[in-house]
């Protein structure tokens, strides 16, 4: 089967006052349709850079990304992004935030009523129908992130890109959203790439876990197949031998093979790097 998304020899060099900084080198990855892939690694290893390259927000300096036989050169709604800090427009209600995206993507193909229904449908999918006319300031962090996911899903992306979507949430809210995300993934079969710091989250949600080595010149260290049957139940999995073994392997990779060497380098996150470098 031909891969939906293919990263080949992706490399990224940033120009800094101290000369060139090679953040990524030779990243090769093939992702098939419907797969749920997590990227995990220490902060600063370039996970977000990889995601931003796939999203088209950053241009790789070497290699390239091919999505469905087309090279990725710019951002677009077929690669919807769920940002770490929700990124909702604070002056629009939840409904209007999703509507903005839907109008932009389906302006020509959907009628006004269809757009309205589609927005409402997507908000229901993330269980936000009850608060759809509230402003982002009036809802909790978890709810904001739900709206962010609804906005991304409403674009009907070929790949859903999630940049530490639950990183800023408390553990309980995070668990709720993980369950919602699994539900949605099972229902829609969307291809998902998610960045995470959380080993449990990665094992629970993913079909494959891509573990990245430390930067500079970070690349893919190991890829772990999580062969757990779906639907998955977090309680039942807690002492499932496969789950425990997968978890063990990721932990080993992160804390034995790729121990973070202190002191932390000054650029502590590729994410801020990506953000600073705007087109």
């Amino acid at each position: 089967m031909k891969a939906l998304l293919e990263l080949s020899n992706v490399g990224m060099k940033f120009d800094t006052p101290k000369g060139q900084f090679e953040a990524l080198k030779d990243v090769n990855l093939k992702i098939e349709s419907g797969e749920f892939v997590s990227l995990i690694g220490h902060s600063g290893c370039g996970k977000s850079t990889v995601l931003n390259i796939v999203a088209g927000l950053l241009q790789a300096t070497d290699g390239g990304v091919i999505l469905d036989k087309q090279e990725v050169t710019e951002p677009g709604p077929e690669r919807a992004v769920v940002f770490q800090n929700h990124s909702l427009l604070p002056w629009l209600s939840a409904f209007e935030n999703v509507e903005l995206a839907v109008k932009q993507v389906f302006k020509k193909t959907k009628s006004k009523a269809e757009i309205r229904d589609w927005v409402a449908h997507n908000l229901e999918l993330v269980h936000m129908a009850h608060a759809m006319h509230k402003k982002p300031d009036e809802i909790s962090g978890g709810m904001k992130q739900r709206v962010g996911i609804a906005r991304a899903l409403a674009m009907q992306p070929q790949v859903l890109l999630m940049d530490e979507p639950f990183g800023a949430l408390d553990a309980l809210t995070r668990a709720h959203l993980q369950d919602s995300l699994m539900e949605i993934h099972a229902q829609l079969g969307t291809t998902v790439i998610m960045i995470t710091h959380d080993v449990d989250e990665a094992v629970l949600l993913s079909d494959r876990i891509v573990m990245m080595t430390n930067g500079p010149s970070a690349t893919i260290g190991e890829i772990l197949d999580v062969k757990l049957p779906r639907p998955r139940d977090r309680l039942a999995l807690a002492d499932d031998p496969t789950f425990v073994r997968c978890r063990q392997q990721v932990l080993q990779f992160l804390y034995e093979k790729q121990r973070k060497v202190e002191p932390m380098p000054k650029r502590n996150s590729a994410n801020t790097e990506g953000v600073r470098k705007r087109a």
Binding site: E74, P75, G76, P77, V81, P90, W91, Q104, K135
Partner: protein, 260 residues
């Protein structure tokens, strides 16, 4: 002064009544005669002058905003434009209204030559001076507001592939609105301050001229009348600021930015 105002209005009404009577009687004698209506030429009262001042300051302020907001957005979006404009802005920003005024007067006198003036030259001169002086806070604040649009929101706009126009309309403008209003409020304050000076020198029949005339004629009541004028000027400045604040409350989504 209220009495003066009423007396003057009574005189004006009487004048118009006399004129109507005269025209009517003359038309009765010569039906083919084209009536000539003349406007009342009595001196403006304090209240008329307040009206003139308000009109002048508002037109100057609106003109300035109409230039400053689009230009500010442009400068905020393009770092090249910012680099090109910034020295000019920094150069012109501290120029005193009293330095602009003679320049504006000369230009207006040279350019605005017409037999049938729609508005007085003194009005145009004051208005342009006000605009030139109150342009800068709005311009700077809009530019800063636009520059500081969150990178995340810009990324959202890029993922959605919003075109330049809807990017400005849907993302940049609402984001920058609180900053823009801070600029507009500063601008209106400056506009009102500059206006009084401009009116004094341009002889635009507003509050500035009132103060100047009272200063010149040296009556025994002059001191008191000027003091009243000063207080009224202060009050109107305060009311204008409140007005902007109300407008800001009504328009801006971020209510926390509207506290003072």
């Amino acid at each position: 002064m209220l009495d003066e105002h009423q007396a003057s209005r009574a005189k004006e009404a009487a004048f118009h009544e006399r004129q109507e009577k005269y025209i009517a009687s003359r038309l009765a004698q010569q039906p083919e005669w084209e009536p000539v209506y003349r406007s009342y030429t009595g001196a403006p009262t304090f209240f008329d002058q307040i009206g003139t001042s308000l009109i002048t300051v508002m037109s100057g302020f609106l003109l300035a905003s109409m230039i400053a907001i689009p230009l500010g957005i442009f400068i905020g979006l393009s770092s090249t434009a910012h680099a090109a404009m910034n020295p000019l802005i920094q150069l012109f920003k501290p120029v005193s209204p009293l330095a602009w005024l003679p320049l504006v007067t000369m230009v207006v006198s040279a350019v605005y030559v017409t037999d049938d003036p729609l508005v007085a030259k003194s009005f145009l001169t004051s208005m342009f001076t006000v605009s030139l002086c109150c342009l800068w806070p709005t311009l700077m604040n809009t530019a800063v507001g636009v520059t500081s649009v969150s990178q995340d929101l810009t990324n959202v706009s890029r993922v959605l592939r919003l075109n330049a126009m809807s990017h400005v309309r849907k993302i940049v403008l609402p984001s920058a609105l609180p900053m823009m209003f801070t600029g507009l409020r500063l601008s209106l304050g400056i506009a009102w301050m500059v206006l009084i000076a401009a009116e004094m020198l341009a002889q635009n029949p507003g509050l500035g001229k009132f103060v100047w005339d009272e200063f010149q004629n040296g009556r025994s009541q002059s001191l008191g009348r000027i003091m009243v004028a000063v207080i009224v000027i202060g009050l109107i400045g305060f009311l204008l600021d409140r007005l902007m604040l109300m407008l800001q409350r009504a328009l801006v989504w971020d209510k926390s930015s509207v506290q003072r």
